[in-house]
């Protein structure tokens, strides 16, 4: 259920990242070099987040390895979304939000003054709780991140769009109507479209905030197998309220409670013999 991250697994992920980041993009965040020592894709140190005077996150430390799926679990309001949104600096959009501590992605501090936030967000795709396709055609939705990042050439864009839609398991359903409005799709299809859009510019990290909470069980299953598939090449962090989902998709699980990281570890350990009583109580449904 939760395969240990083998050296082979890690290097394969690294290899894919190298392949997809050819010369054109400036490298604000260095791609992890091929090496035998395991380096973390994401390294969170003493993260504190304030909304105005209220502290939403209290000194969180967490490492996430390459090519792993990490689930964030915990009761509502415990800070899962807040932490996730720190990873691509979406919290910058909230005026009264203040972030302290350090977050490194592939060794580079993303809160450093020199970080290009647009480049960071290009390389860390995000999928939101509610599907949010643009009121544009299916094709234009997926092409959007390519266009804003300066990819030119009809053929190149069309090829990338197809590849992303295939990766998101949506190609067969939409290939004959790429130019109809994305809003004509069902909720599950819209969410997969948003995933296709999020991976179109080849991010190394994919952040998903309760991606299935607005979906029916069948659409949820589709998205879960998609997460499994994508994790072969992308590091994924997924916030979920669904314990079963965490068990099904995540290698690592992190349990948060009232802005604190209570415990993080391999998913099966977290669900069967966690270190903390609180974790056990939560995963067995005694509160939350």
């Amino acid at each position: 259920m939760t395969p240990p991250v083998s050296a082979e697994n890690v290097s394969r992920a690294n290899g894919a990242q190298h392949g997809s980041h050819s010369a054109h993009a400036p490298r604000m965040i260095p791609v992890a070099p091929d090496q035998h020592v395991k380096r973390h894709a994401i390294d969170i140190k003493n993260l504190e987040v304030f909304y105005g005077k209220g502290r939403a996150v209290h000194g969180v430390n967490l490492q996430i390895a390459h090519g792993e799926v990490t689930a964030f679990i915990g009761p509502s309001g415990c800070g899962k979304s807040t932490i996730l949104r720190c990873l691509n600096r979406m919290n910058d959009l909230i005026k009264h939000c203040q972030v302290r501590g350090s977050i490194k992605i592939h060794g580079a501090d993303i809160y450093d003054r020199r970080t290009d936030v647009m480049e960071l967000r290009k390389r860390t795709g995000m999928v939101f709780q509610k599907p949010n396709p643009f009121p544009k055609s299916i094709f234009d939705n997926v092409a959007y991140p390519l266009r804003i990042h300066g990819v030119r050439g009809k053929a190149v864009i069309a090829e990338k769009v197809e590849k992303s839609l295939r990766s998101a398991g949506l190609w067969e359903e939409v290939k004959d109507r790429l130019h109809v409005s994305a809003l004509s799709l069902s909720g599950g299809q819209q969410q997969r479209l948003c995933i296709a859009r999020a991976i179109a510019a080849d991010p190394e990290v994919l952040l998903m905030d309760e991606p299935c909470s607005a979906l029916d069980p069948i659409a949820t299953k589709t998205v879960e197998s998609l997460i499994n598939e994508l994790s072969k090449t992308i590091t994924i962090v997924v916030v979920t309220h669904n314990m079963h989902q965490a068990v099904r998709v995540a290698h690592q699980t992190a349990f948060f409670y009232m802005g604190n990281l209570i415990e993080a570890g391999p998913t099966d350990k977290m669900f069967h013999n966690p270190e903390h009583q609180q974790t056990l109580a939560y995963v067995t449904g005694q509160f939350g």
Binding site: M118, R121, K122, G125, F134, P135, Y144, I148
Partner: protein, 292 residues
């Protein structure tokens, strides 16, 4: 009506409905009646303009100038189109930029509030005053009435209408679109130009159309700015011909033939606005702001 009464009736839901049903019917009747009255008045006015206007319409009206024989208003028709066009070139971008600024950059602070207030005030100002301002700004320094001053006065009228319409339409674009775009690494201006403005396009176009239709019929602000011109003069530095000015002038004339021509001019103006409005509506048909 007490609970017991309700309980004793056959249908437990029947209790209070008869009264409500009558209130509902009454309200409905009132609304229908009001709509019918408004439509009837509008129809009578339009029909009267149509009948009187067509009665005196001649081909010469469209081909000749006011002092030729037979008389026409070719220069006034063209003058109105150019005047409104110039006003749009000035007023639409300015109004849209104001709207974009208020909705996208200024947030909800006191400055936005103040700007909104000024815009609403400007929209409510008697248009003749805006004509006075344009006169002071352009006519006085240039020592001459001109098309430029007229266009400026009309632009003053357009700005608040376009600005408030743009602002409201931009605010209607759902926040998740902005988040999605930012999350993909778009800059603020990319989000604005590639996501937000296209989504608000139809609404903004409607606002612009209303502003244009509105100024096409304005007379007062042109009285001492554009002034009017009986020659085929289209240089905006000179006094400028306009349909509304001609209507105003001829409608007060003792000359019956001129009063008749004024009716035709009114019909032509209404028809121009109607065709323009229909064309814009057709161009942006079915593309409303998507509120998801």
């Amino acid at each position: 009506m007490s609970a017991q009464q309700i309980a004793t009736t056959e249908n437990p839901f029947a209790g209070r409905s008869p009264g409500r049903r009558w209130i509902s019917r009454g309200a409905m009747a009132l609304c229908t009646f009001a709509t019918a009255v408004a439509l009837a008045v509008l129809f009578v006015v339009l029909a009267y303009i149509g009948i009187r206007g067509i009665e005196y319409m001649t081909p010469a009206f469209f081909t000749n100038l006011p002092l030729q024989s037979p008389e026409g208003m070719r220069n006034c028709i063209i003058g109105t189109v150019i005047l409104v066009g110039l006003a749009s070139v000035l007023g639409v971008p300015l109004g849209m930029l104001c709207g974009i600024y208020m909705a996208e950059y200024a947030g909800r602070g006191w400055f936005t509030y103040l700007t909104q207030l000024v815009m609403d005030l400007l929209a409510g100002t008697p248009t003749i005053l805006l004509g006075v301002i344009a006169w002071q700004l352009v006519v006085v320094p240039m020592h001459q009435q001109s098309g430029w001053s007229g266009a400026l006065a009309l632009a003053f009228i357009m700005v608040p209408i376009v600005a408030r319409a743009s602002e409201e339409m931009l605010r209607l674009v759902p926040h998740p679109h902005r988040e999605a775009s930012a999350g993909l690494g778009a800059s603020k201006s990319q989000t604005l130009f590639m996501v937000i403005l296209p989504a608000a396009k139809a609404g903004i176009a409607t606002g612009i159309m209303l502003a244009i239709a509105r100024v096409a019929g304005e007379t007062a602000p042109l009285l001492f700015t554009a002034l009017g011109n009986d020659q085929a003069v289209y240089n905006p530095s000179e006094p400028y011909p306009s349909l509304t000015l001609k209507i105003w002038q001829y409608s007060q004339s003792a000359e019956l033939a001129w009063r008749h021509q004024a009716w035709t001019a009114v019909l032509v103006l209404v028809a121009m606005v109607l065709v323009f409005t229909a064309a814009v509506r057709f161009a942006v048909r079915g593309r409303k702001v998507h509120v998801v």
